[in-house]
Symmetry: C2
DNA sequence: CGTCCACTTGACAATCGTCAATAGCAGTGG
DNA sequence: CCACTGCTATTGACGATTGTCAAGTGGACG
């Protein structure tokens, strides 16, 4: 029932309390009914690569893909392992991280619905992907997807745009990692998460944080303690309120000023 | 004549002393003779996107491009400005940097021959590009290049592969910025530069550093002083030798161990 | 009720940044 | 020709932001 509790809380913080949450929870715990996608009730139409396709192209894509669910804390794939699939996230949140030989870790990103895993199209994974919440993805064989891209330039264009956008975000994150103070890092992280959720669920001052403080630290190049101290300080200064599973932003302007790009 | 001196020194450190350097220097200071490319004597065939094309496609690309030269210290384009062109670097080195409002700077990369500028295909530039040495690029109108990509999937595929590779490098750099000590950062920078030059000129323990210590610091999230201290320490420990315009790597194994990914 | 884990808080340490001075070199102009 | 300027690099002294170590709280779960 841990899964249930987490799912409900997650949706609650999102302000998206489903009238029949049972449906979602059930489908996230049993394997898909069979091959093929469930695009009819996809929650992220208009956000994913799928939107870029014509009806006929869409059908081809649907044919080579299948919906797969993962429980919270599941590992979707590990750095260095074979990468037989690429996937499109339809619900949930993931942590993407790289591990150094001595155990130090860098979180290179958090993936949300609409994000695409496997942009690099490389035969092995460049990082590990772990589910922070129950996760659903549309999964495609890498080879099949690659072939389809070669046949359908519009699909390839959509992937290219996505890769270009990711590259741009990565460069922004370099600025954060290289030239920001701890306080600015936290501010930029919170504003960044808010903006990303806004694209999915619309704007809100509720920012769910399905990751731990350690994850945030490993994303920002800080320690857990520093993350905790900074967030406590911001809460004391009434810039944010710390709530279960996330934060509420009280002074967005102040945060944006700290995070200003 | 500053340009001449720099160019010669640069090539010298590369071990690529031209028998007729005058040619290069002259062509790098006058505008191209006219529209069109000079692909016949391109130095980076096999490294650039061009290699991926058939003869007919190549001709189309050649038609929409032109060769442009810049003097050392010239600014190719600035963050936030319109981006009417994309370009492929054929010789020289560039610094790509982002500026914060308060003057702090993050260098997001150094571009070398074979690198592509404008992968994001966005209407404005996301960073500033400055020439560290005299630079030559093949320049294409962004719109023209974009249209050609849509017609020639192989070209788009080449750009996608390049973007994916850049993204991967950016994520590696995130690890360096977030989780590496100053010494490890320097080591990883030197090894990284060596590997990149190896692709272009073949392996060598001579690593030219056309950028200043400040640039290196802004790339690694360090100050000039720390970069200088770490490099002199490495020199004292006989891991490297500091030479005019670069370094020689004495203990590559030791550096690779420090930089181990 | 006990264990585990995430989070918080405090004391202290150290890496790295800040400030300052100096050397070296190239280009400039009287 | 040579002083003068400006930039890059180096080095030292000092300081502070952030990391390390340690302890303790509270919630979730079995």
């Amino acid at each position: 029932m841990e899964t249930l509790a987490e799912k409900v809380l997650f949706d609650t913080v999102f302000g998206r309390i489903e009238s029949t949450p049972r449906n979602l929870v059930c489908s996230s715990n049993k394997p898909s009914p069979g091959p093929g996608l469930e695009c009819a009730d996809c929650e992220i139409k208009g956000l994913s690569i799928c939107e870029s396709l014509d009806a006929d192209e869409f059908e081809l894509l649907e044919r080579i893909g299948r919906t797969v669910s993962f429980a919270a804390k599941a590992t979707l794939f590990e750095q260095g392992r074979e990468a037989p699939f690429v996937s499109n996230i339809t619900s949930g949140a993931l942590r993407l991280s790289k591990l150094l030989p001595d155990g130090r870790r860098q979180v290179v990103g958090f993936a949300l619905p609409g994000d695409f895993l496997g942009l690099a199209m490389e035969p092995t994974h460049m990082f590990t992907a772990d589910a922070l919440t129950p996760v659903k993805v549309c999964q495609f064989s890498r080879q099949g997807f690659s072939d389809l891209m070669d046949q359908k330039p519009k699909l390839m264009r959509a992937v290219l745009n996505m890769a270009a956008h990711e590259l741009s975000l990565a460069q922004d994150q370099m600025v954060v990692l290289g030239r920001r103070t701890a306080e600015e890092k936290i501010a930029s992280f919170l504003i960044g998460m808010r903006n990303r959720y806004a694209r999915i669920h619309g704007p809100s001052v509720h920012v769910p944080l399905p990751m731990t403080r350690l994850d945030i630290g490993d994303y920002l190049g800080l320690t857990v303690e520093t993350v905790s101290r900074m967030m406590t300080r911001m809460a004391r200064e009434k810039i944010i309120v710390i709530v279960p599973d996330g934060v509420r932003l009280l002074e967005v302007a102040r945060l944006e000023q700290l995070a200003e790009m």
